[in-house]
Symmetry: C2
Subunit: 241 residues, 2 copies
């Protein structure tokens, strides 16, 4: 397979972008610098908040800057694009149509990975924007997978961890994430999707246990493969055991 | 101070670049995505090996691609450049002269931080390219700081950790790094400089103790400040206590 340069629209949020970059390096089968993938990252944290716009259209839209960055990455030679921000995938059809190179879709990649691994029901931990817009619900339904979401009280806990802990640079209130996870397990979720890239940073030490799938891992894996790099064998299956 | 976009020449190595990006985010005083710095990263791991060229000029030079990337970053609007690779600073005069925007110098920033904190002698853990080229020796001498380097046997241990552990994606042989550190302490080093960005990744769990300064931390801190962002107070002094 031909090598491609990965184009990354980053900064949504900035810590998740750094983690995404680290994951692509970690997952690539490489024994020296020169074996790794080439990438261009446009780190643009000033892009307006995604959930704020989805919940209230009077807020500024993040779509125009995302489209501009996608076009810029394409013009700079990126052969495959990724945006390590799940809520942004609300606009996937629009921003992917603005370029002629493939744009990875974290929702579809996640649903496909669940399907491949025989998961029939999954709970989603994500922003209220992602949940209310039904992003995972639709992607999972396309694969015939049942999708469960937290009730209002537990959804508020997840948002608190994302915005008031991770994005604010403060310690993670792990008990909140554990309670939200537990409520989804109680609803019958066979697998939990960490469906916001900030939660990839929050999950450490939360003891969420087996049967978790981090969507950021899925996107990093897809990026390595799409850019024509070999994957380390231990990253073939990403659901925690 | 006016905000600037940070331009990063990355991939030398790729894991150190991801860590550098993470450090800039971690060190910025920010409570939401939009408070963070804007950046453009050109991740180019295919750039020829730096130490290989410094030790044997018949190997391909990394300088032309570094200059090309610096110019590209400037043309894309970067207002300040950084290259999170210490050995590359062998070429600092050449690549910094190729652009008209400021180019951070990890060696001078490190020496200045040692000086500010009253350090009078420091030992260097770095690649053989960095050591043989006298990069830290010169930068520290400019500040009146005595610079100690490992003997041949311990230098070989440091290179093994950098190339055969970190760059190869394998576990760090911590005992080797500990022995090299201990030999520098034995020579009278008041402070140890982690003087290769790969060592920033290797240091965890090595128990190097107090009096260590990670040059990658110094570069990240300098980048945050140079881009006009506020620094979290705990990153004012970077030498471990």
């Amino acid at each position: 397979m031909q090598s491609k340069t990965l184009g990354i629209i980053g900064g949504l949020g900035p810590m998740a972008t750094a983690r995404f970059l680290e994951l692509t390096v970690r997952m690539t089968e490489a024994s020296r610098d020169q074996d790794h993938l080439e990438a261009i990252l446009l780190e643009s944290p000033s892009i307006p908040d995604r959930t704020a716009y989805i919940l209230d259209r009077s807020n500024p839209s993040p779509l125009p800057p995302i489209v501009a960055l996608a076009k810029k990455l394409e013009s700079l030679g990126a052969g495959c694009l990724a945006i390590p921000c799940i809520t942004s995938h609300y606009f996937y059809d629009e921003f992917s149509a603005a370029v002629s190179v493939p744009f990875l879709n974290i929702l579809r990649e996640t649903a496909a990975h669940l399907k491949e691994n025989g998961v029939s029901s999954a709970g989603v931990l994500a922003t209220t924007g992602t949940v209310q817009a039904g992003l995972f619900q639709r992607a999972l339904a396309e694969q015939g997978i049942r999708c469960l979401t937290p009730d209002e009280e537990h959804q508020a806990m997840v948002m608190h961890v994302i915005y008031s802990n991770v994005k604010a640079g403060l310690p993670v209130e792990r008990e909140l994430l554990r309670q939200a996870a537990s409520s989804l397990r109680g609803q019958g979720a066979q697998c939990l999707i960490l469906g916001c890239t900030e939660l990839s940073l929050a999950k450490e030490g939360c003891g969420l246990g087996a049967g978790c799938l981090d969507a950021l891992d899925v996107l990093a894996r897809a990026a390595v493969l799409a850019c024509g790099k070999p994957l380390k064998p231990q990253y073939r299956r990403l659901i925690s055991e």
